[in-house]
Amino acid sequence: MLEIKNLTASIEDKTILNGIDLVVPDGEIHAIMGPNGAGKSTLSYVLSGREGYEVTGGSVLFNGQDLLAMEPEARAAAGVFLAFQYPIELPGVGNANFIRTAVNAVRKARGEAEMDTVAFLKEARAAIKRLSMPEDMLKRNVNVGFSGGEKKRNEILQMALLQPSLALLDETDSGLDIDALRIVADGVNAARGPNFSALVITHYQRLLDHIVPDRVHVLAGGRIVRSGGPDLALELEAHGYAGLEAA
């Protein structure tokens, strides 16, 4: 369970998050919507521990642990996964090697046995098939020369193999055509279960047609200004974000 209490954060002395309160129980998928500049990406980076974001107040508990005190890799080991809005290219680093190293680092941190190459490749190929991705995705260098859609699918592939208990999907729908969107959504839906929760951060409602959230929150001016059921997303789609900052 993710519990965010009165979280404030800033970049270079500029306050971006202004007191966020949010609880995501196990097994639930919550959507965070909001206009550009509302602090959506900042929230995902603060939760995953990227440098350059200063937490100025509040707390974040993940399954009772103080998430903010943990290093980025410890958060990953604890089960937090960030699907990047702009996945990073790693020239020269093979995708299979990268994901296997990550899977084993996480397994090791959890006290589990490491996976050998054969077992890993078997699982990775199965995941690739499930996600209707091209087989050569594993052979290429991480995100290098990938199209926008391929990068996003690669994030979902990593998610499938790392099996997180909390996924943060940062604008994963941006730049995707409808087929890719469906593949990404299928990947998230496949992970759904009592031990998986997710924060789906998006500007548009269309991703939520495919990943139906349990709750929708509207982020504006660095705080959550409205919360509701899936219908809230439709309402926002119809009326836009205008006026929400004032709410």
């Binding site: 440098e51 996964f81 790693l90 020239p91 899977v103």
Partner: protein
Amino acid sequence: MSDLAFLDRVDLASVMEHPHRRAALDAFRTAGFPNRRDEAWHFTDLKARMRDFDWTPPGDQAALMLPDLSLPCAVLRDGVWDAASSRPAPFMSRLVRNEVLPAGANSLVALNVALGQDGVDIALRDAEVGGTVMVVAQARANAQPITPRYRVVLGAGASLTLIEVAQGSGAYVHDPVWDITLGTGARLEHYRLQDDSVQSVHVATVFVTMAEGAHYNGFTLATGASLARSEFHVALTGAHGDVQLNAAQLLTGRQHGDVTTVIAHRAPHCSSRQTVKSVIDGMARGVFQGRIEVDRIAQKTDGYQMNQALLLSPDAEIDSKPELEIFADDVKCSHGATIGALDPEQIFYLRSRGIDEAQGRAMLIRAFLTEALEPIGESVARPIFEAAIDEWWRRAAL
């Protein structure tokens, strides 16, 4: 101590007998080892290094292992043809030295001509397919410079893959010179591993002259020597020539590594491609100087040069001087340089996937090195290049 004091120990009687060699010795004595005042040696002060060089005479030294690649090979030990170890292809032989010092050559080439020693002669007839061969230069501590010469002549349409390995132990100065002439449409793949002893000084000069439609693909991996310089002079003298000149240097401790290239486009429609990567750790210093020259007649030249450096420690240094000298108007020439540490964004990406910082850094550095080996593809020589990287990696303790 004078940087030229070693000449007192050299038997110069045989040098004096040959007018060419005597002239070269005079040229070397006059110029001395190059130093910072020489613009081409702005970042590499060889003279200063040679002043306190430890010219250890050879003593009891462990035998060196030869790389085992089951290829035709020529072996030089301390600059002398080793008939027992060599298994040359029919087109390879011991070189008879009698070359003239080319005008404008630097003092290291002069030293090479003056002191002579053996060399390897590789000559392919027109259209001859040479396959893959190897040249190994092994050296051990030596009180005199080791000055071998290599002559490679490929006839029209001939092709060859040449693997060159320099390795050794102890303190010595290795001053090899290569003369490579490629006939019309000839193709040479030249993969060089400079793994000389970390007490040594390695200063190689490679001249390549290319006729119409010739192709030269040179790749140098430099991991050895206390001071190393690989200097290339490539002349594209016929139209539609194509040169790739790539290098990677890995430096740690107090190593000084220098890759210097001059690519002269003297004919139209030629292309040159260059990527030079430096990974610098410890208190090491890396240098890259690259010049693309385009003559007035060399229209439609396509020249590209990229220099990337990765600094891994607070005391590491890189100096870079990529130059363009262009006299033709219808050309496309560019160079780029990027210098820095590992990208924090990449490290964060790895950490967000559960890989800790130390492991993440190691992955990224290995990736940089793996990419550096791209020019040699899946060559049979790849394992020895990878082994040299592993060895360097252990030395750098990354």
